[in-house]
């Protein structure tokens, strides 16, 4: 039991550290690493790039697809595409944006393929994450579902910021938009998410005051 708690707390700490470390990265460093691989064949540079970005790309794919195995396969494909770029090297000014674009295209293709082979209801269910190692509370589940029901561009910004840990200015660079545009998009996304959650809370009959009276949702769950 204590081992489990230790593992859980260390994994959470590792994740937080990873997000903090990644946020402090210098994007120009990524450019240098990618060019070092593409033009000089320095495979260590690509491995460094992989260690920096793979987890965040995986999270992005996982949240879009809702399937851990598919997310891993897609992230592998992203890196294979990057590795094969060495056959025809070209300058990439925005490596993180480039990686994200590949990831997004692959995810969209995957979702389209799913839609072709299953009904719309199945797609909606399939898009929900089923990879949680422990159950979320009912209310938390409502919030996560609301996030998944957002329009794609809103959901993408929120996933990139809340799950992958990118800052809004980084997301702006990745998506090749101005920081103001992304800030507005993120604000609208959050507003829309909140409105949906508020509606769901109202439907569920939960008193919002109870949500505010507790700082920790898990305490509330433990108390029933």
């Amino acid at each position: 039991m204590s081992h489990f708690q230790l593992t859980l707390s260390s994994s959470v700490n590792t994740e937080r550290n990873a997000i903090n470390t990644v946020s402090a990265m210098d994007p120009s460093d990524d450019v240098a690493l990618l060019e070092s691989y593409l033009f000089s064949g320095n495979t260590n540079a690509l491995v460094t790039l992989y260690d920096r970005h793979n987890r965040r790309l995986y999270m992005y794919c996982l949240k879009l697809l809702g399937n851990g195995e598919q997310a891993e396969d897609l992230t592998q494909e992203i890196w294979e595409r990057i590795a094969r770029l060495r056959a025809r090297p070209q300058h990439v000014l925005n490596p993180t944006g480039f990686l994200l674009r590949i990831a997004r295209n692959l995810c969209l293709n995957q979702l389209k393929a799913r839609r072709r082979t299953s009904s719309l209801d199945d797609v909606h269910e399939g898009a929900l994450p089923k990879t949680s190692q422990h159950e979320l509370s009912e209310l938390e589940d409502i919030a996560v579902r609301a996030l998944h029901s957002l329009p794609d561009d809103y959901r993408e910004v929120l996933i990139l910021s809340l799950y992958s840990g990118y800052r809004l200015d980084e997301i702006a660079t990745m998506l090749e938009k101005s920081p103001d545009a992304i800030r507005k998009r993120a604000s609208r996304a959050r507003l829309q998410l909140r409105e949906r959650v508020m509606a769901l809370i109202q439907e569920s009959g939960v008193d919002p005051a109870t949500l505010l009276s507790r700082n920790d949702m898990s305490d509330m769950e433990a108390n029933g």
Partner: protein
């Protein structure tokens, strides 16, 4: 008004509020059900995302191994052939250096071989005409092949010399002898002893053949043309036949 509320929400969400401000906002929300619901929703979203993120699986350890394997495979696939065999992806510098050097070394070797091939022939020409003395013609040819065993192997690659540096990047000195059906047919008609190399075919045919040495249809036409335009030229010269072989430009003097 809406913007004020949004700013307030954003500060509440991001934890930018002091404890006093936060407390004041919560007090205010008691009289404002809309604000209360909004704050409750924000609180719920933050908790849900935090817990959901913590519960998501990490990429498996095998995925990194898979990536490294893929990278090794792709790197060896994309390496130039010669450098790929010589060096691992991490030793690119040595491999690439050799890959650059080998074509030039091959070209140099071809030039030397060509010079070695022509040198004895020119001296032979000055001494005797092989057609006039077929019995003695085997004598100069034999030492040339026996004393220089590498010459027959390099001689066939002389004909495509202009493109040799580009093609000979990996195996400049050991290019396999291409079989020439035209050569074989011609050699079987004329040569008493069939030799395996093209250089020897040329040499034999020039020694025993009574007509112009030709290689294939192009060679026959070219030889006919050169015979009609330079009938009295006595010193034979050699040129490419266009099909990767050497032929004698000058027709045999009757």
């Amino acid at each position: 008004m809406m913007d004020d509320r949004e700013n307030l929400m954003e500060r509440f969400r991001n934890g930018d509020m002091s404890q006093e401000e936060r407390q004041a906002l919560l007090e205010r929300s008691k009289g404002d059900p809309q604000l209360q619901r909004a704050l409750g929703a924000e609180q719920l979203i933050s908790m849900a995302v935090r817990n959901d993120r913590a519960s998501l699986p990490e990429p498996s350890a095998a995925s990194r191994t898979r990536f490294l394997t893929m990278l090794g495979a792709v790197s060896s696939e994309l390496e130039p052939e010669g450098a790929g065999r010589i060096g691992s992806p991490s030793s690119d510098i040595g491999g690439r250096g050799l890959a650059r050097f080998l074509p030039w070394a091959g070209a140099g070797a071809l030039i030397v071989a060509f010079a070695l091939l022509l040198a004895p022939r020119l001296t032979e020409r000055n001494e005797t005409t092989p057609a006039q003395n077929p019995g003695a013609s085997t004598a100069p040819g034999a030492p040339a092949t026996s004393s220089a065993p590498s010459a027959p192997a390099t001689a066939p690659s002389l004909a495509p010399a202009p493109s040799a540096p580009a093609e000979s990047g990996t195996q400049p000195l050991a290019a396999p002898v291409r079989e020439q059906p035209g050569n074989d047919a011609q050699a079987s008609e004329t040569a008493p002893v069939r030799q395996s190399t093209r250089r020897q075919n040329v040499r034999e045919s020039e020694m025993v053949h009574s007509g112009p040495v030709v290689q294939g249809e192009h060679g026959r036409r070219a030889a006919g043309a050169s015979a009609s335009t330079h009938p009295e030229k006595s010193v034979p010269t050699y040129e490419e036949a266009g099909n990767g072989s050497i032929r004698k430009r000058q027709p045999h003097i009757k």
